[in-house]
Symmetry: C2
Subunit: 98 residues, 2 copies
C-alpha cells in the first residue's frame, strides 16, 4: 500500500521555540557543528490503491487546509513507498539498536 | 549548508491518537481512500561543514537519545540537501499557492 508523506515545517521567518530548545540541549550535551534545529510535523498517510495525480492534488489540498497552517507553516508532499521510520523492518538508516 | 533530517514516528504497535484524530477528520471532510494516518515529528538539523560518517553517527546517537523515545518511537536519519518544506523557494511539491 503506497504511503504519502506530508512534512509540515515552520516557515523560515517564524520563530521555532521547540527547535531552539533542542538546539540549546545539543549545546549543553557538547554536540558541536549543528548550527540550527527546526522542528515540524510529519504525517504518514496510507493510501488505498494507486497514488494518482488527482489523489495527490487532493492530498495537497488537505495538507494546506487541514495539516498545516499556511500563515506560519510550509508543507511538502512526497510519495514514500519504502523507507520510513514506521517501517516494521529497520532499514539501514532507521532507529535499530546499533 | 547541508541539512540532516531526523524523522520520528510512533512505532506501528503503538496507538497514535493524533493520527487517529486526523484520520477521523478526513472522513468527516468526505475524503476517501486514506486508510490510515500516523503523525510524528520532523527535525531539520543544519550542519556546519560536511556530513561525514562520524557526524552522521553522532546524529544517529542524538536521534536515539534526545529526539526520540526508543520505547515508543522509531526514527530515520536522511541527508536532505534541497527539497524541504522550509526551503525559501517553493519547489514543485511544496506548499505554494496553486
Amino acid at each position: 500500500m503506497p504511503r504519502v508523506v506530508v512534512s509540515v515545517m515552520p516557515k523560515p521567518e517564524i520563530l521555532d521555540p521547540q527547535g531552539k530548545a533542542v538546539h540549546g540541549a545539543l549545546a549543553r550535551l557538547g554536540v558541536t557543528g549543528v548550527t540550527d534545529v527546526r522542528q515540524g510535523k510529519r504525517f504518514e498517510l496510507e493510501v488505498d490503491g494507486e497514488v494518482t495525480d488527482s489523489r495527490l492534488a487532493e492530498i495537497h489540498d488537505l495538507a494546506e487546509r487541514l495539516l498545516s497552517n499556511p500563515v506560519i507553516e510550509n508543507y511538502a508532499v512526497s510519495v514514500d513507498p519504502v523507507e520510513t521510520p514506521s517501517a516494521a523492518e529497520p532499514a539501514a538508516t532507521t532507529g535499530a539498536p546499533r
